[in-house]
Subunit: 346 residues, 2 copies
Amino acid sequence: MTKGVPDEGQTRARPTMREVAALAGVSVKTVSRVINAEPGVSAELSSRVNSAVERLDYRHNLTASSLRRADGKSATIGVVLEYIANPFDSMLHRAIEDLALTRGVLVLAGSLEESETRERELIAALASRRVDGLVIMPASHDHSYLLTERRAGTPMVFVDRPPAFLDADTVLTDNADGVRRGIRHLVSYGHRRIGYLGDLQTITTAALRYQGYLEELVAQGIPGDERLTRLNLRGTERAEAATLDLLSKQPPPTALFAGQNLLTIGAYQALRRLGIHHKIALVGFDDVPLGDLLEPGITVMAQDPAAMGRAAAELLFRRLDGDRSPSVHRVIATRLIARGSGEIRP
Amino acid sequence: MTKGVPDEGQTRARPTMREVAALAGVSVKTVSRVINAEPGVSAELSSRVNSAVERLDYRHNLTASSLRRADGKSATIGVVLEYIANPFDSMLHRAIEDLALTRGVLVLAGSLEESETRERELIAALASRRVDGLVIMPASHDHSYLLTERRAGTPMVFVDRPPAFLDADTVLTDNADGVRRGIRHLVSYGHRRIGYLGDLQTITTAALRYQGYLEELVAQGIPGDERLTRLNLRGTERAEAATLDLLSKQPPPTALFAGQNLLTIGAYQALRRLGIHHKIALVGFDDVPLGDLLEPGITVMAQDPAAMGRAAAELLFRRLDGDRSPSVHRVIATRLIARGSGEIRP
DNA sequence: TGCTAGGTTGACAACGTTGTCATCCCCGGG
DNA sequence: CCCGGGGATGACAACGTTGTCAACCTAGCA
């Protein structure tokens, strides 16, 4: 590593096509043609331009280019996530990036953290930068404000949660079905008293999952018991406390279903604390990292964020390629991963 | 959700300042002044412009703006990561986003997956979009190619791994020191035969960590034993196999140090498989999600990606604000988190 | 030889915005 | 009453690029 101040030498403005043209002895338009690999430039001029580009370290200015271009495309898309650092979200992000990569498209991403205000601000900021398309995991419950973007020709795909008051492509997990299969799994092991831990009911997916729980109880002819349900839990600690509370009631549940990642962890911790993690069954929704290293391993209904991201990106790019057919709604199935905690009998 | 094709109504081009100006009966320049909240516009015109903006759903075009603007700032920065979906990377990403948010700056992020080619391509793509600054977790070992960007006035901060042949701000984990403290911890519990599992030696941090291991052995007067070392491991499975192999040698180590996240998990799995996870000590570098739920919990030297991201963003924005002082090199300490696996005596 | 078709090349305008500067108007002071 | 100054407003050019179109050149054919 050499020593010195970060900008050794003076700050020199980036060279433009004008300068490249001057050095190569051609017109700017010819430089533009070479840069964009348009046909119809003689080998002679082409190589002169290329060496001038090399010599000046010219970097194409995509900003100016997309401003002038007929289609106005910026080769950039926006991805709006709940929280970038969530394993689920970052996996989704990664899957989108992977497909974008093959098209030379970059990804602008941001977190909402359940703030509706932030959702509008972030999308406005993305629109200001004229992204070509949007993948949105929404926090708000009214997306009519997006009609403007839609009319401006910006395609958008909703992931994980559906849009409200707006028709658009969606890629969703089969939430209710996933929970129902999880409950069925527990019932098949002989459970009848199954507790439920749920996230904020304002989150669409959380509401759908709880719905699935209720539906499956009815389907199984199990009477509902409000004392077995704890909703609007946020984070591991709340879930742990709620679980401890739930288990102190008489008669306690013989199994638990946790409607979300962090709640599953909280519930597991509570069971461990009470020393009954080998006695009370537990199934969680959404996979838990390292769930298989635990003893017992945590049984989950796993979502497939990579598949969701891939599907969302595919839909988005299809729209960018001009597809105008009616909105598509993809449902990605959950997968039961039995690791032990869900296979405990009462 | 309403029914219909995604673009109900025709695709209508976005309104421009020209149209806003026409509707408000003022000049474009006045619209520009209002949009940018420049002083010196009468309340009368200001409100006429604002209602025209409202009526037309005008969205400022930051692309055109930054093209014309004197400073040429795009209010966008680039973040180059090893793999976006890694918990470490996504935490770092998030911390940067958090600070960027307060300045109205958006983040373009991408993954390298250890590809030097990809590093150059991605950074070129970011430079094309005229990002205001870069945070880079590099894969390559020669960054002299970045001198062009540097000269063009793009500040850059390297995180997690240092640049080569280029002087720039850095934010690094104290790798060697972290490993040395981890080894010392094992020694303090009576271990003398300590195995080491390391990632690709081409990765700078991996090399530094191994260095720390060797140094601490010397400092402790423990003779090195090549049979206790397995380097260039990639991923959980390789680490698991290497651990099984390592333990089959006579005499086997009484403790293991794993130089990376996935290797720690692989080693733990191997110990579990052999049923000796309560007999052989294990310390890992970098935290393992849910490491505290395991039995025994996994003892680690934890890095602090959030602090690193924050530091990197602070440095970058300080440069963006005009700071031209010599490069700064921040070192973020690791933290020993004792959870059980590292506190087993031989 | 003359003419045309086709392929190269470049001059110029335009994309949507902001910097510069001129103009205009009003108010206050001489 | 006139003039100067300052604040509000707008006309115009420019940012770096690409679309359009005209000019030019060469080869091929009548």
